[in-house]
């Protein structure tokens, strides 16, 4: 986009992007689901902050309103929804049987961050602005979210993994071309909210039918 940014704006942008990655790593590190949820809410705030910095750099009221919407959706509504899923998810409040231990997951997160740097090279080369230079961080959040989904066995952890991915994608969208059209943006936000809602209901049903929300119990269907 080639927007001129002052040194302060660039620093704020980097802080917001750093917070995005740090919260993702914290989710990987911790096992206590209530802590993970709090960290996830913080990430929503960091994402809204990132967009707010971009909005002030571009003096865009529209983008400012989007930042506000993101703060409500990703900092408040989605974390509350997942918290309710957790409340209805039975007595297990910890990730008890993850497929990777803490050290291995942190190493994997580091490797994924390097991978994100590598795959984002063409994106940064296309438009070397301060905002685009933060894209690898957002891509790293997407990959870490994917890892959380694949390696965690608790239903609520998988939902958080999915939402981490989505936070990362939203960050990429705003860091590249400042969003992909208001209509599509709204559609995406609605879709994410509905998917989280559907997963919330399904978590309750898993608890009803299996008596637990440890997904290792899902072994009815196989060949």
């Amino acid at each position: 986009m080639g927007i001129e940014m002052s040194g302060l704006t660039v620093q704020l942008l980097d802080i917001a992007a750093g917070a995005l990655l740090l919260t993702a790593v914290l989710v990987v590190w911790r096992r206590e689901l209530s802590v993970i949820l709090r960290v996830f809410a913080l990430q929503g705030v960091a994402l809204a902050g990132l967009v707010a910095v971009l909005a002030s750099a571009q003096r865009s009221v529209e983008l400012g309103l989007v930042a506000l919407g993101l703060l409500v959706l990703r900092g408040v509504v989605l974390p509350l929804l997942v918290r309710r899923s957790l409340a209805g998810a039975g007595p297990v409040r910890r990730e008890t049987t993850p497929m990777l231990n803490v050290a291995a997951s942190l190493l994997a997160a580091a490797a994924l961050t390097l991978l994100a740097l590598a795959v984002s090279v063409p994106l940064v080369a296309l438009d070397p602005s301060p905002a685009t230079r933060a894209v690898p961080v957002a891509v790293a959040v997407v990959l870490i979210g994917l890892m959380v989904m694949v390696t965690r066995r608790h239903a609520v952890s998988q939902v958080v993994g999915f939402l981490l991915m989505d936070n990362g994608i939203t960050a990429v969208a705003f860091l590249t071309t400042a969003g992909i059209g208001l209509l599509v943006e709204a559609g995406i936000a609605l879709d994410v909210l509905l998917v989280a809602g559907v997963l919330h209901v399904l978590t309750g049903r898993i608890r009803e039918t299996f008596g637990d929300t440890d997904l290792s119990a899902l072994r009815e269907l196989h060949d």
């Binding site: 063409p122 296309l126 438009d127 998988q158 590249t176 071309t177 879709d191 399904l202 269907l221």
Partner: protein, 489 residues
């Protein structure tokens, strides 16, 4: 006039959904789904004639119909008609057996119409972002249909379905964001409009576009049942109620594949044909291999049909990888033929499940003696599925294979054909045991009559055979759509 025609396939299912939400599922409201599907089919045919004669139609910058979209509309509406005819008997039986209640039946009717509207939006949207939103919306509306029976298996299938498909489709969204960046820097002002992107494809940055296309093919491939993200499909398609399985296998897979086809045109313009060809060829062979290896010893007939759908997605990917006018036309014909036959088979499988109470192949047995008409439809359907003439899948598979050898992709095509033969043998063997094997002692469960279901199955098979023998005016439409896929128009 054209605007009205374009809005019918979108507005009619929405109105039908509202009607079912208000009135519920009752005897007088049941035919509304059939009327809705037939109206959409009529509108789709008229639209197809219009765009073949006068070129693409655009409404408000948001919706666009060209020959390819019109063709997809016809496929959606044809399969919707088969499903609408088969739904009353299915729901009546489930209600009579107490497996669902009135509220479930109402929800089923509402969600199926919403599902149809979402798929229609996906093929009508002019912006790839809206296509994405519509495809993701299909996951949301079908999640509760998959888990309708609330058994452990159904809940597990619904969970896997939502998690894997939403993750896959999230990757596609990341791909679209990246493509949007390439588009913003191409100076064409195309945004994510697929027609403008295809027209200005040569200005897209190749490295960024490559990354975007990889993510998009992987993501929409998940929803289209392509390896490596296919694992949800056999679970969801086997646990969903029969009419929903029919829609998911018959059209949802090809609607997701439609998104890949649109992106392929853009990618071919920006990167040359090799990149997507290699990508789709790898996906196609992996998909066929998965399908063949899990079909050989399959014990559940609904899962058998689901793996066959995975096979046919693999064949579509193979045809798209080959490219060119012949293969592209064959891919489209295959979409229609597979949609018709697979929906007939899932409807039939649903009926067998209701009559026998089991989804295990070895527990059915002797269906040809006990229910000759149903057995005949299923038998013919499977023969159509493995590509026997006169059914149209013979023509389309033959077309894909011929184009493959002509495009000097002989080795991958030959490998695919070997896998297709293995799959055909497995399908015919399993079905033979169900239809002709010794009948078990246990009597069939008494079910309400299903005359309209029989009409749907016979009609679907007849349509597939007719298209296979005389494609008639459909040829013009398919050729026009194939020209769009090859970038010739």
């Amino acid at each position: 006039m054209s605007t009205l025609l374009l809005l019918i396939p979108l507005a009619v299912p929405v109105m039908a959904a509202a009607m079912y939400a208000a009135a519920g599922w009752r005897r007088p409201s049941a035919p509304v789904a059939v009327v809705s599907a037939v109206l959409c089919l009529a509108a789709a045919v008229l639209l197809a004639r219009l765009v073949v004669d006068d070129g693409p139609v655009m409404v408000a910058g948001l919706l666009r119909v060209d020959a390819l979209s019109a063709f997809m509309l016809i496929v959606i509406a044809s399969v919707a008609t088969i499903v609408a005819l088969a739904t009353p008997a299915h729901l009546a039986t489930e209600l009579a057996a107490g497996r669902i209640d009135r509220r479930d039946a109402r929800r089923h009717a509402v969600l199926v119409q919403a599902f149809l509207a979402a798929m229609t939006l996906a093929v009508l949207a002019a912006d790839l972002g809206v296509v994405w939103v519509a495809v993701e919306a299909t996951t949301i509306v079908t999640a509760f249909l998959v888990g309708q029976r609330r058994t452990r298996a159904a809940v597990e299938a619904a969970w896997k379905y939502v998690v894997i498909c939403s993750t896959g489709i999230a990757l596609a969204l990341l791909g679209l964001v990246v493509l949007n960046q390439a588009s913003a820097h191409s100076g064409t002002g195309a945004g994510l409009d697929w027609a403008a992107l295809a027209a200005g494809a040569s200005a897209l940055d190749p490295d960024v576009t490559r990354l975007a296309v990889l993510l998009i093919v992987l993501g929409f491939g998940a929803k289209a049942g392509l390896a490596p993200l296919h694992a949800w499909l056999p679970d969801a398609h086997s646990q969903a109620p029969a009419p929903v399985s029919a829609l998911m296998s018959g059209v949802l897979l090809s609607v997701s594949f439609y998104a890949i086809l649109r992106v392929k045109v853009i990618a071919d313009g920006a990167l040359g044909p090799t990149f997507v060809r290699v990508l789709l060829l790898a996906a196609a062979l992996a998909t066929l291999l998965v399908s063949a290896s899990l079909l050989i010893a399959q014990r559940d007939y609904k899962r058998m049909l689901a793996y066959s759908s995975i096979e046919h997605s693999g064949l579509l990917a193979l045809g798209a990888a080959i490219g060119g006018p012949l293969a592209s036309a064959a891919v489209l014909l295959h979409v229609l033929g597979h949609g018709l036959v697979k929906s007939v088979l899932f409807v039939g499988a649903g009926r067998i499940l209701q009559l026998t109470g089991t989804s295990r192949i070895d527990e059915v047995g002797g269906l040809a003696v006990r229910r000759p008409v149903l057995a005949g439809c299923v038998g013919l359907g499977v023969l159509a599925l493995v590509g026997l003439p006169p059914f149209s899948l013979f023509a389309s598979e033959f077309g894909i294979a011929r184009a493959g050898f002509e495009a000097s992709l002989g080795w991958p095509t030959a490998l695919a054909l070997v896998l297709v033969v293995v799959i055909a043998a497995a399908l015919v063997g399993h079905t033979g045991r169900m239809l002709l094997g010794a009948a078990p002692e246990q009597p069939l469960v008494p079910c309400p009559p299903a005359r309209s279901t029989t009409v749907a199955m016979v009609g679907g098979l007849a349509a597939c055979a007719t298209v296979g023998v005389v494609a008639g005016p459909l040829t013009t439409l398919i050729d026009a759509a194939a020209a769009i896929l090859t970038g010739a128009s």
